[in-house]
């Protein structure tokens, strides 16, 4: 992954009539990064993707792809992106080869490069055996692959995939995920989904969008580390006051959890587990459970999207009571 910024999105907003469905979306993407775009249904994922792919004009804001503004230099910007919409844009009456050739031509590949490009895209997407078949007769999984092949045929620096695994069976989902990971080596990928494990397995970075606003922008690594280490969950038979726990070294806050447990947040550099166990034994608190308070992405997601007021960059987001 290089440090070159490939996509820059600034203050994107979009209105449908009086309704503002996107507000002040801004993020950037480095070359070779796989970005997961999460959000509940209707949060504005698809709208954002449509804007990024030039299918929808933003009401405010700017999108720059590979240094070209999408509105001022659409041809250069669009040449650098490949887009797979929620419904793959397939001409059902063409064969896979004919369709991919047409896509290659639309993306202005010179004629002599079209056939190699088509073959390469087919190889990447596992379509070698179906080149001569009508798209209408392919299974949904294969149609989805043709959709992806269409998006990468001109080797764009940016590939945008809108819910690429929806409606596929578990095996196909695994195959498509492997394919996306593969794509991440040569291309930058923006992937929208509402399947959380998908993001954890294939993405380098996560954006969570809710009600048209960006509520989280964090790399998966940091997210993982934070989620694992920044808190411990403990349970006592005779719980001490929060004040007593907070006096322990490194503890920053103590929060009650619904089932009588306590969540102890601490500095990521100082883990108070040892001290806590010792003190609990000395004072007879009756410690019967202690575990690293790993926040799953799912919890984080629910917290961020359930409560509009939660802080924007929520790696240490607190659970709502």
């Amino acid at each position: 992954m290089s440090t070159e910024i490939l996509v820059e999105v600034e203050h994107l907003a979009r209105d449908y009539g009086d309704r503002r469905v996107l507000r002040d979306i801004h993020f950037s993407l480095r070359r070779g990064e796989v970005l997961g775009f999460l959000g509940p249904n209707g949060a504005g994922k698809t709208t954002t993707m449509q804007i990024l792919s030039g299918n929808l004009a933003p009401s405010e804001g700017r999108v720059r792809i590979a240094g070209h503004d999408l509105l001022d230099e659409p041809r250069a910007a669009k040449g650098a992106l490949g887009y797979l919409a929620e419904t793959p844009p397939l001409y059902r009456d063409l064969t896979v080869d004919e369709y991919l050739d047409y896509c290659a031509a639309l993306n202005r590949l010179p004629r002599r490069e079209q056939q190699p490009a088509r073959e390469a895209a087919k190889r990447k997407c596992g379509l070698e055996d179906v080149g001569g078949r009508l798209i209408a007769n392919l299974s949904k999984g294969y149609q989805q692959r043709v959709g992806i092949a269409q998006a990468i045929i001109h080797l764009p620096s940016l590939v945008i995939l809108d819910e690429p695994t929806v409606g596929l069976d578990p095996i196909q989902i695994r195959e498509i995920r492997a394919l996306i990971r593969e794509l991440g080596r040569d291309h930058s990928v923006i992937l929208s989904t509402h399947i959380l494990p998908e993001v954890q397995t294939i993405c380098d970075r996560v954006l969570i969008i809710h009600d048209g606003e960006l509520v989280l922008d964090e790399s998966i690594d940091r997210l993982d580390r934070h989620m694992k280490t920044a808190s411990i969950t403990v349970a006592f038979h005779t719980p001490p006051t929060a004040g007593e726990l907070e006096r322990l070294g490194g503890v920053t806050a103590v929060q009650p959890e619904p089932n009588g447990r306590l969540r102890v947040l601490h500095d990521s550099g100082r883990n108070p587990t040892d001290e806590l166990v010792r003190v609990a034994a000395e004072r007879g608190w009756g410690l019967y459970e202690i575990r690293p308070g790993r926040l799953s992405l799912e919890q984080l997601f629910v917290e961020l999207t359930a409560d509009r007021e939660s802080p924007p960059a929520g790696t240490s987001a607190s659970p709502t009571p």
């Binding site: 449908y16 030039g54 669009k78 992106l81 419904t87 844009p89 059902r92 639309l106 202005r108």
Partner: protein, 256 residues
Amino acid sequence: MIFTIAWREFRSLFLSPLAWAILAVLQVILGGLFIYILSVVYESQDKAILMEGWPGITLSVLPIFLTFAAFLLLLVVPLLTMRLVAEERRSRTVTLLFSAPVSMTEIVLGKYLGVMMFLLLVLALVALMPLSLLAGSSIDLGVVFTGLFGLMLTLASFAAVGLLISTLTQHPTVAAIASFGALLCFWLLDISPQPQGTGLVDYLAQLVSYLSLFNHYQPFLYGVFDTADAAYHLLLIVTLLALSVRRLDADRMSIA
């Protein structure tokens, strides 16, 4: 790029039976009609030839034949143009064009050219009938080609109307019936009462009848090439195509 899109449109017409059906039906009906006209002219020929100022075989056959051909194509062109944009929208394939490095103008021109390629094929088949007279008589080729040129301009206008209307809707059938209605209106404008006086109503009637497609087709059939008529068609086509581009552009502004 325009040609890539045009070629795909042209080919996709032949992937469904629609294009073949249209060609077959047109050929059968026009062929029958041509023979009928010919037989009527042939029977009255003995008398006619003695008459002072008989216009000759070309002018006896061609205008009525081409008038009817244009009318028949008025029914057919909406069927060809209805899918152009409406179908792509409906099946959501339009995103392919929108996210490719292709401008709206190229999309519109490509689609238009695709349909025109098909219509030129139709025109070639129509042209074969009057040209077949060459086998048995001498015809005025100038008149024939002017007439065919007029038919081509008229078809080009039809296609532009159909294309614009196809950009307005998601439903091909709606596009077809609306284009049909619009074309028929253009055709019928001519029926307004012939202007006699100089009042406002008469001027309006004159204006309305001037806008009729029919009035700008008829002169060609008698071998008259009037630049004003050609300009009328070209202006109409350019305007409609420009509106189509605008309409497609506006797609991105609203809910797709």
